[in-house]
C-alpha cells in the first residue's frame, strides 16, 4: 500500500486552525476596514481554510502529482470563466 496515513495529531491541529479561521473571519466581518479590504480579508481567510482542508483532510499534500494537476486545472478553468466574462462586463462602459 503506497498510501500515506496522516496522524490524528495533524488532523486535530488542522481542525483547530479551521476553528480559529472561522472565528477570525467573523470578527473581521464586523470590523469596518477601508476600501475593498473587507472582501480581500474574508476571501484570503476562506482560501487558507480551503487549502488546509484540501492539503490535509483530502490528503493532497501526500498525493500523486496528477491529483495536484487535476485540482489546479479546475481552479484555472474557473479562472477562465471569470476572467473572460468580466472582460466583457468591466469594459462595457469604456466605449
Amino acid at each position: 500500500m503506497s498510501e500515506h496515513i496522516v496522524s490524528v495529531k495533524i488532523y486535530i491541529t488542522i481542525f483547530l486552525a479551521l476553528m480559529a479561521g472561522t472565528a477570525l473571519t467573523v470578527w473581521a466581518g464586523l470590523q469596518d476596514f477601508p476600501g475593498p479590504l473587507n472582501v480581500v480579508i474574508a476571501l484570503t481567510i476562506a482560501v487558507i481554510k480551503a487549502t488546509l482542508v484540501v492539503l490535509y483532510f483530502m490528503h493532497v499534500r501526500y498525493s500523486a502529482r496528477l491529483i495536484w494537476v487535476i485540482l489546479a486545472s479546475a481552479l484555472f478553468w474557473m479562472g477562465i470563466l471569470f476572467a473572460l466574462t468580466f472582460s466583457d462586463y468591466w469594459t462595457r462602459d469604456w466605449l
Partner: protein, 556 residues
C-alpha cells in the same frame, strides 16, 4: 524487419473462440445489466441511431418548408419548434455522444490493452442516464415542443415562450450527466489501465483525441448544467438572475450557455478527428506524419476551445474590447485544427492508399472540414461577423463541420471497425456508393447555404424573398439525396449482421492493438495481458521512413 512484424512472428494467436462478447450470454437481462463496454457501446449505437433518425425527420420538415418562399407547410410557431427540436436532438442526443459513446466505448480498452474501462457499472449507468434524458426530452417534444431555438436565449425562454422549456431543459440536464460520466471513465481508464509498454506516445491518436474530448466534457458540461437549472428556476419563479426587473442581465445567460456550448462543438469534432487519424494512417499504410503534433494539437484544441465563446456574442451587446480578445483567440483556435489537416495530408503524400469506404469518408472529412473551418474564420472576424451573424452562412459553416466533419468521421469509423464489432464485413460496393451519394448530397444541401447567408437570408426564418428560392430548392434537393445516402448504410449494415462475409480477426491487416483480438472479440478482449513494444502506426520503423528534401542526406 519491422518491429511489429518481429512481434507477429513469435506471436501465435490463440485459436479463435466460438464464444465472443455477442453470444457469451443471451437474454435481455444480459444486455440491460451488462458491464461489458462493448455491449454498452452497442446499446448506445442503437439509441443514438434512433435519435439521429428523429433529428433527421425534423430536418426533412425544415427543408420541405423552405422549398417555397411562403409559409405554406408549417405555421410560424410550428416551424420554430421544428428547427429548435432538430438542433436539440442532433446536438445533445446525437453529435455529442456519437463517436465517444459508441466507438470510444468499444475501442478504448482494446486499443490500450485493457479488459474494460475503469468503471464498467458507471459506464452502464451513463447509458441509462442518456436514455432517461432522451425520454424526458421526447416527452417535451410530444407534449407540445419547444420553440426557443436550441440556444434557449433569455428572456424569450424564461418569460415569453409558451412551450415546454423546463421539460426540455431537464432532459438536457440529465443527459449532461451521461456525458460527464463517460468523460470521467475515459480519463481514469487512459491514465491507469494502459497495458505494460503502452506509453503515452505509443497510444493511437484516437485515444489522444478522446482524452482531450473527455477533458472538455468534464470541464464544460457542469456549466451548462447549472445554466439550464437556473433557467428552469427562473421560469418557475417568474424572476431570476437573467431578469432585468431585478437587475439581471439576459446576456449573462449567453455567456454561461456558450462557455459550454462552444467547447461542446469540439466535443463533437475532436473524436471525429481521432477517427480520421486512424483512417488516414491505416488506409495509407504509412506512419502518421507528425504524431507528436497531432497528439498535442488535440490537447490544444481542448484548451483553446474554452477561450473563444464570446464570438457567439459579438452582436449581443458584448463589449467591443472583449470582442477583440475573443476574435483574436478564435483565430488562434483554428491553428491546431489546421495542423491536423496538414499532418493528415502529409501522411497521404507518397503513401500506399486504398480507397475503401472508410478512406472515402476520411478524405471527404479532410476537404469538408477544411471548408467548414475556413468559413469559421469569416465569422471570427468582428467586421464580417456583423453581416454574417444569424444568417445561413453560419448554418452552412457549422453543418460543414458537424455533418461534413463529425458525421462523415462517424460513418467512416463505423465501417472501419464494423468487422471488429460485428464479425462481418459490410458490402464494399454499396459502402463506396453510399459514401459518394452522401458526399454529393451533403454539398448540394449546404454549399448553396453559404451563398444564401452571404446574400442576407436569415437563419430560423421560413419566409423569405423570392430571389432566394432557387438556392433553397437546390438545398432541399441535396437534402433528399443526403437522406437517401444515409439510409442505404442503415440497410446494408443491418443486412450484413446476418448475411455479410464473416470477418477474420484482422481483416484489414493492420498493426493496431484492437486488431490483435478476434472478431468479434471475447468479453475480456484479450486472453493475455499484451506487452507493447512498438510505436503507433508502425508500418515502418523510423530508420526506414523516407525523408524527402534537403534533410535526406543527413539521415543515416
Amino acid at each position: 524487419m519491422r518491429e511489429f512484424e518481429k512481434a507477429m512472428e513469435t506471436f501465435v494467436p490463440p485459436p479463435p473462440s466460438r464464444i465472443n462478447y455477442l453470444n457469451a450470454q443471451y437474454g435481455l437481462k444480459s444486455w440491460l445489466l451488462t458491464k461489458d463496454h462493448k455491449r454498452i457501446a452497442l446499446l448506445y449505437l442503437g439509441a443514438i441511431s434512433f435519435f439521429f433518425f428523429i433529428g433527421g425527420l425534423y430536418a426533412m420538415f425544415i427543408r420541405l418548408e423552405l422549398l417555397t418562399p411562403q409559409a405554406d407547410l408549417l405555421q410560424s410557431t410550428t416551424y420554430n419548434k421544428v428547427f429548435t427540436q432538430h438542433g436539440i436532438i442532433m446536438v445533445f442526443f446525437f453529435l455529442i455522444p456519437s463517436i465517444p459513446a459508441t466507438l470510444g466505448n468499444f475501442l478504448i480498452p482494446m486499443m490500450i490493452g485493457a479488459k474494460d474501462l475503469a468503471f464498467p457499472r458507471i459506464n452502464l449507468l451513463s447509458w441509462y442516464i442518456y436514455m432517461l434524458g432522451g425520454l424526458v426530452t421526447i416527452y417535451a417534444l410530444l407534449a407540445g415542443g419547444i420553440d426557443t431555438g436550441w440556444t434557449f436565449y433569455t428572456p424569450f425562454s424564461t418569460t415569453f415562450s409558451n412551450s415546454y422549456v423546463i421539460a426540455a431543459g431537464l432532459g438536457i440536464f440529465i443527459n449532461g450527466f451521461s456525458s460527464i460520466l463517460t468523460g470521467l471513465n475515459f480519463i481514469v481508464t487512459i491514465h491507469t489501465m494502459r497495458a505494460p509498454g503502452m506509453t503515452w506516445f505509443r497510444l493511437p491518436l484516437f485515444i489522444w483525441a478522446h482524452y482531450a474530448t473527455s477533458l472538455i466534457m468534464i470541464l464544460g458540461t457542469p456549466v451548462i448544467a447549472i445554466t439550464v437549472l437556473l433557467l428552469a428556476f427562473e421560469r418557475l419563479a417568474h424572476v431570476g438572475i437573467f431578469d432585468p426587473a431585478v437587475g439581471g442581465d439576459p446576456v449573462l445567460f449567453q455567456h454561461l450557455f456558450w462557455f459550454y456550448s462552444h467547447p461542446a462543438v469540439y466535443i463533437m469534432v475532436l473524436p471525429g478527428m481521432g477517427v480520421i487519424s486512424e483512417l488516414i494512417a491505416n488506409f495509407s499504410r504509412k506512419n502518421i506524419f507528425g504524431y507528436g503534433f497531432v497528439a498535442f494539437s488535440s490537447l490544444a484544441i481542448a484548451v483553446f476551445g474554452f477561450l473563444v465563446w464570446g464570438h457567439h456574442l459579438f452582436v449581443a451587446s458584448q463589449s467591443v474590447y472583449a470582442g477583440m480578445i475573443f476574435s483574436f483567440l478564435s483565430f488562434a483556435v483554428a491553428i491546431p485544427s489546421a495542423i491536423k489537416v496538414f499532418n493528415w495530408t502529409a501522411t497521404l503524400y507518397k503513401a500506399s492508399i486504398s480507397y475503401d469506404t472508410p478512406m472515402l469518408y476520411a478524405l471527404g472529412f479532410i476537404g469538408l472540414f477544411t471548408i467548414g473551418g475556413m468559413t469559421g474564420l469569416f465569422l471570427a472576424a468582428l467586421a464580417t461577423d456583423v453581416h454574417l451573424s444569424d444568417t445561413y452562412f453560419v448554418v452552412a459553416h457549422f453543418h460543414y463541420i458537424m455533418v461534413g466533419g463529425t458525421l462523415l468521421a462517424y460513418l467512416g469509423g463505423l465501417h472501419y471497425w464494423w468487422p471488429k464489432m460485428s464479425g462481418r464485413m459490410y458490402p464494399e460496393g454499396w459502402g463506396r456508393f453510399s459514401a459518394l451519394v452522401v458526399f454529393i448530397g451533403f454539398n448540394l444541401t449546404f454549399l448553396p447555404q453559404f451563398i444564401l447567408g452571404y446574400m442576407g437570408m436569415p437563419r430560423r426564418y421560413h419566409v423569405y424573398p423570392d430571389e432566394f428560392q432557387v438556392l433553397h430548392v437546390l438545398s432541399s434537393a441535396g437534402a433528399s439525396i443526403l437522406g437517401v445516402g444515409l439510409l442505404i448504410p442503415l440497410v446494408y449494415l443491418i443486412w450484413s449482421m446476418r448475411y455479410g462475409k464473416v470477418a477474420e480477426g484482422n481483416p484489414w491487416h493492420l498493426p493496431g492493438l484492437e486488431w490483435r483480438t478476434q472478431s468479434p472479440p471475447i468479453t475480456e478482449n484479450f486472453d493475455f495481458t499484451p506487452v507493447v513494444t512498438w510505436e503507433a502506426y508502425e508500418f515502418a520503423p523510423p530508420e526506414e521512413t523516407e525523408v524527402v528534401g534537403k534533410f535526406a542526406e543527413e539521415r543515416v
